[in-house]
Symmetry: C2
Amino acid sequence: MRSARSMTSLRPAVGDKREAILRAAIRVFAHNGYFNSKVADIAREAGVADGTVYLYFKSKEEILHSIFDRTVEVAISEGRKQLEQISDPRRKLRRIAQLHLERLGADRELAVVFQVELRGSTKFMEEFSAAGFAEYLGLIRSTIEEGQSAGVFRRDLNAKVAAKIFFGALDEMATNWILSKRRYKLVPMADQVLDILLNGVSEK
Amino acid sequence: MRSARSMTSLRPAVGDKREAILRAAIRVFAHNGYFNSKVADIAREAGVADGTVYLYFKSKEEILHSIFDRTVEVAISEGRKQLEQISDPRRKLRRIAQLHLERLGADRELAVVFQVELRGSTKFMEEFSAAGFAEYLGLIRSTIEEGQSAGVFRRDLNAKVAAKIFFGALDEMATNWILSKRRYKLVPMADQVLDILLNGVSEK
DNA sequence: CGTGGCTGAGTGATGGTTCATTCAGTCGAG
DNA sequence: CTCGACTGAATGAACCATCACTCAGCCACG
């Protein structure tokens, strides 16, 4: 069976197996939780032998890391690119919220891994925190600071705290969506979050 | 073989052992994560034999449940009591935020268990969600609805969504506080969260 | 004594990881 | 074109470290 990509290397579609294992792991982790998932489950789901998993990943934990790393990397670079096209800080925040919820809303299993499984240990949280998360929060924060300089956002508040609140709100939307039995659209929540964050809940 | 810690006191003092095990479990879970914690670790930390743990708890999982149940029960009933004393919905929200952050801020280890360990599996999250969490969110929501009826909060927004945003913001404050190397006070964040939630970030 | 709280070594199951083996596919020689 | 040597990706049974949980006794008190 000649798979595509044959000319460059005669190997049978190299990246495919690694990719299959990652997808399988997302599915299995989402279903059983990281600690209750057996490597054998992942292998079976990927249609691969147990040992094959170890040709592509050093350990079970490295699989979880890879899922996280790959996703965050794509998300951040994509996010930055999109933000360049926008000048109004309010619009920028809206775009961040939309991208955030689109991405998670488009892949429920990945969302479960992100919202639930990645939170399951301080150890992982700390790595998580140190790596992509700080960068992501920084992106939000600097957008807010930009808005403060431009005079559209209040200057009397701490941009970092505001960024955390914004992130926390989005994060909770996502977590709630995952745990909810009801199947509603996640993306439209972005506008509601933005409305409240920008204007507050108080009647004027 | 006389185990170390022999006898500080010769009194078994009834409920003490159960309590000691729970405290020990909080400490051990906070330190190693639920799945990486051995029952033997908890027993040692509690100054008790492995088997003794099973005189008080059916399983390792039941220990985690007990920690959650006891804490939430106390928090909610205490919360309700305090809210009765306040009429202004804005003040009520502020009180909720303060209580929330006070409780977690006062016991870092308990906070780690709540913010990190309890999130570690969909299974647990669902139980968690079904039980106390829905009630807690309902408390916030009805306070917001109260404010809408009273005309102090905007009526054009969804109280449930606003409640989630509020909770999400508090939750993120707590999680960030735990993961942060810096040791700052958690409670004062309540006011900042409230300010943004009530008034928004937009310059008027 | 005897009763009941407590002990902690033992056990059985589990599951991450390894590695000897297979075999599909490649390639140079004839 | 064919054949045999060779390669290394893939396999999956077996290994073995790790724990949650059990239970046969111990001891202190009344």
